[in-house]
Subunit: 363 residues, 4 copies
């Protein structure tokens, strides 16, 4: 992991700005002979795509992915497969508005990277947030689709929203089939109208709201991960925290573990009816001492409210003068929603990497 | 970061098991000409040392550090300094009890790495948890002491406990001078008797309890860190989550940010009385878009309760037979306490690394 | 360095196959505020471009580079500059012939990667050699142009051919101004007609010939590089050996050093007429103990003859049947020629990386 | 590879100075369950050990290795095995002479790292060359012994000297059984008296002489290595060039390839009497396009003459005054000799790393 590259052996390097000609990634280290076409990737991109309903940004992007290298249609095989060489993926930006960036160009929007980028680099592409825009996450989703192919069908990664503002799902009503039936990736149908009304209100008042995303990976075999600084939980935390707007990551009981006593927290082991190793609970969220336990890996992350606001906030401009700033344009009133497929993608990338690392060390 | 190495340019590789002859680390990439003697490191090790009071493990270790390489007493300089070559640090284990490990050797303690290590590696040093023991963190604390030297006096890193079980500090009573005046690294004197009584009870009932640790780094200049996968928050999350028993990491408002609206969360900017850039709040915890803002970097982490319990829990042995298991021996009833200096050390290591990374790219 | 990425801090990830839609690279870690336009890169690409004379491959490629990210036209600065974010460069392939690859597709050409790729990956893009084609080096040359910008005008990197087959330049006649005046990058005008005649003969007889390339970097300050496994000579050796067809790398006296006695090899030090540190010789080629000495860094590499031959050679096909194989199509009779700008580019990339590494550790 | 760490997945971090208390390495990423005791390592260390005859340095070191971590005597297995956790190895320095370093301390010996270290770091451990001493290679040899265990018996790595000064072995007389029968690791018995007499002369005249080392790895399966920047030849070049005094590395025909025509250089393929894939020659030295071919991997490197001389040479001191300098003390008149086990060790480390990398990507 370095600058714009993520992963040890399944390595993803992303590039591109919000309003440049394109964005993309290079995936290195992918095993060969995995069937892969653009349509395998497009499905995931479509889930993240902007402009799909009124609860997300109205920017219109088709987010069509092109595979520029690393695959080949071999006669011996059944269709196009990965060749083991770097897979270059590109997504063109098509809805860069030629609007006047005058004000934003010279000002620092609170909560955004404007000030810190200027302070560090002395220059930044201010159009739509440039490199700091969440548009970068399209490249992650594309990489995640490839990662899932490496993981295979036995591993299932499911993300959903559990909370918008103070409105939380009812965990007794979780039905994973609901997730793609509503605009919020909610697994609880009953909260959908509540969130709809709440978000409408948020949107109309020109503000935004935070959220919590949960991602579950099931089917991960026992033993993936590596001590001490490549712990699977450490890799996951790093991956999730690198997503725009994420301010917290927890695994299993997470912050709740602070309130538990040892005997409450112990995920006792037993043999299930089939004589297989099982656990009575999953407070550890599927990881112990840096390795997967074979249980579901359960991760939650908090997403801060979008910092682009239609209500004026106090700030400074590049000349270090005090100003009031309003961020016009197209924004997600709750970025947490579109973070769901991104978080799934990052989980897939970490797990694909861990699969290869595991294979390297223990065969 | 790979397996047992942490950091990009300030690189720490740790080694050693709980009951082996020694543990230690190799620090690579340290700048030259930094005054460094064993006593500079010993102070931090002493804060983490076991056996200092009844609220931590009764194992007795002096944790004396030896510097085996990377320093030199040069005539031109005033005393011993780093030379820019790898600094090898070693701490001998002196209180490895020659007790019978019979039962533990053959069993998997819930909440520990026993089962996953056996599943992955097929072999493990079961004495005191082997490589998964929190004794490994002594090497981190040693490395952190060197990292602090790189950071210099302008950057101050302060860790403390904010919560044990449900008992939380009163934030209005925080006084950092209190931290080293009580056995809990509590910044709030008023909670000390509460925690004392509560932990006594926990300890006597043969169980353990979780905690929350907060670490604050002040004096970090604006602009450290790097987009997109070496974000400073990503590096911190990875570092903290790699500490034994940590199950969650949050920065700034953290999980609280999920409940905030955009205008509440905005850390508005202004010019202070000296005409310097300032922020009205710090919900972002001193980081934006992967870079430091110049504000305090504020990180919290949850620590699960020690999994070694004197009360029996259900588990399996290596023959996959169901058993009841009690972990005799010496344990921390609340590992969160001794995690404080460890978390400080990891913060120091991340920041030293970011300082060097920053210097590399922007001079 | 991993798979398709080169460098520690100035990191270049290349992608693309010979006959895919495009090839390119992502450059990460570039410092900000360096003026950079496509034309800065195009000049170097033009030197490496195929089809420029009868001594190189007749494939016609314009090798026009597009900058897809990482630069910005800022009002405050004078024109387009790097922003510190990843620079994505793309070069489209335009002269992929739609010829029948039937024979090559099913056969293993000796001296090429065909057999080993099939053995490792079980699949390969056989069109024009796929990923193993020297077309990949266009991306290196593009990256090298950016690296040179980081190094600045004070550092000059000059490559040239010193030998084709047994025909070697006369070192007493070296005139660097000659290098771009002949199709061989020869610094010795007197050997040009010899090489012309010799290569014509080689080409007409359907075979190919090896060569030796020398690269000199002058102006490198003392102290760049790092012990022990990031020695500047180690990095250079790795970089050069990664270029297609390179079979040997030597620095300074190189293999000649094996025949020298210590007192002959000693690069004695003295003060020159200006009182500056100087050396009486440069047998060490500008590097000592992993660090630059401030002298010219002098590197030589041997390039094997092109393995694509119009004369039949014995080989096997994918069914493991013995065959005679002729590689029709367009080839360089002496790949060493076009290796010159590639070797310069790799030297530039290594030095830019070392510059940043040096700055990181010693400020 | 970074500073003092070598390898991607089989990672070796070395530390220590010539006259410090100890030197050693941490090996990370080693697969578990490999039988390993100190005596497995000691044999290789003994081959490199100084003071064994009059042709090498007279420094007396037993070079006894201690394994401080990463192994465990498990009841289930037959003796001590690796556990998959970091293996820390330490070798104490015992023959550090308490001589006066006065002169050396203040002067820069030509051909050594003295000047460049001072220029870069501003401080250096001048005792016996400090970190730049070839004593560091003891740690490599120890790591190499572990690497060989990972490779298993099927892969055999053999190093030998082919040349001292202008005196080269007769390749028709190579008998690998001779290598350990003479003090020069010569595979040709007939040259031994020539070298003896020649080296005696060199030694007595107070100078030193260069050499060429060849290392052959047989039994490496086809397909190890990775394009483009982790080519097996690139990794080998990097590894060998990092050894003290190495000034050139070549593979297969190496620099000789520059003089070959394509049809001469082609390693034609055929089926041998057993119907197995075979090659008529090995000009490519067992590597093609970055991957192993299954043939012997053949590497040669040139070693410059020891820079420590008993004859005076011109130099400068730290005050930048011109001086004559004689390096008293104990030196190898031909460091090439003891480089043989070091080069073998580096080959083993590279191959072990490539084995794990290969397994990671293609299973």
């Amino acid at each position: 992991m370095s600058y714009n590259t993520f992963g040890h052996l399944f390595r993803v390097t992303t590039w591109g700005e919000s309003h440049g000609p394109a964005l993309g990634c290079v995936i290195d280290g992918c095993p060969p002979n995995i069937p892969l076409t653009a349509s395998d990737i497009q499905g995931d991109l479509d889930r993240r795509k902007p402009g799909q309903n009124k609860f997300v940004t109205q920017r219109r992007e088709d987010d069509l992915v092109e595979i520029l290298s690393g695959v080949f249609e071999d006669d011996d095989t059944n269709g196009q497969v990965t060749t083991g060489t770097p897979i270059s993926l590109m997504i063109r930006n098509t809805d860069q508005r030629s609007k006047d960036y005058g004000e934003i160009a010279k000002a620092w929007r609170p909560g955004h990277g404007d000030y810190v980028y200027d302070a560090k680099y002395g220059v930044r592409d201010y159009r739509g947030g440039g490199r700091t825009s969440a548009r970068e996450t399209a490249a992650r989703v594309a990489a995640g689709a490839v990662a899932k192919k490496i993981l295979g069908d036995g591993i299932k990664i499911t993300g959903y929203l559990t909370k918008i503002g103070k409105h939380e799902i009812d965990r007794t009503k979780i039905d994973l089939n609901q997730i793609n039936q509503n605009p919020f990736f909610s697994p609880d149908a009953s909260i959908v109208p509540v969130w709809e009304e709440y978000l409408d209100e948020i949107r109309k008042s020109g503000t935004s709201i935070g959220a919590v995303v949960e991602v579950v990976a099931s089917g991960v075999p026992v033993g993936w991960g590596a001590p001490v600084y490549a712990k699977i939980e450490s890799e996951i935390a790093s991956a999730m925290m690198s997503i725009n707007a994420v301010k917290g990551v927890e695994i299993g009981a997470g912050f709740g573990a602070a309130e538990l006593m040892g005997h409450e927290n112990a995920d006792e082991m037993y043999l299930d009816e089939n004589g297989k190793i099982a656990f009575k609970s999953n407070n550890n969220g599927g990881v112990l001492a840096g390795l997967s336990t074979g249980q579901d890996i359960v991760v939650r992350m908090s997403i801060k409210p979008t910092s682009s606001l239609l209500t004026p906030v106090k700030s400074l401009n590049r000349k270090q003068e005090e100003i009031d700033i309003i961020t016009k344009g197209r924004h997600d009133p709750c970025v947490g929603i579109r973070a769901v497929p991104v978080a799934e993608a990052m989980m897939a990338c970490v797990l694909a990497d861990m699969k290869l690392m595991h294979r390297a060390q223990v065969g």
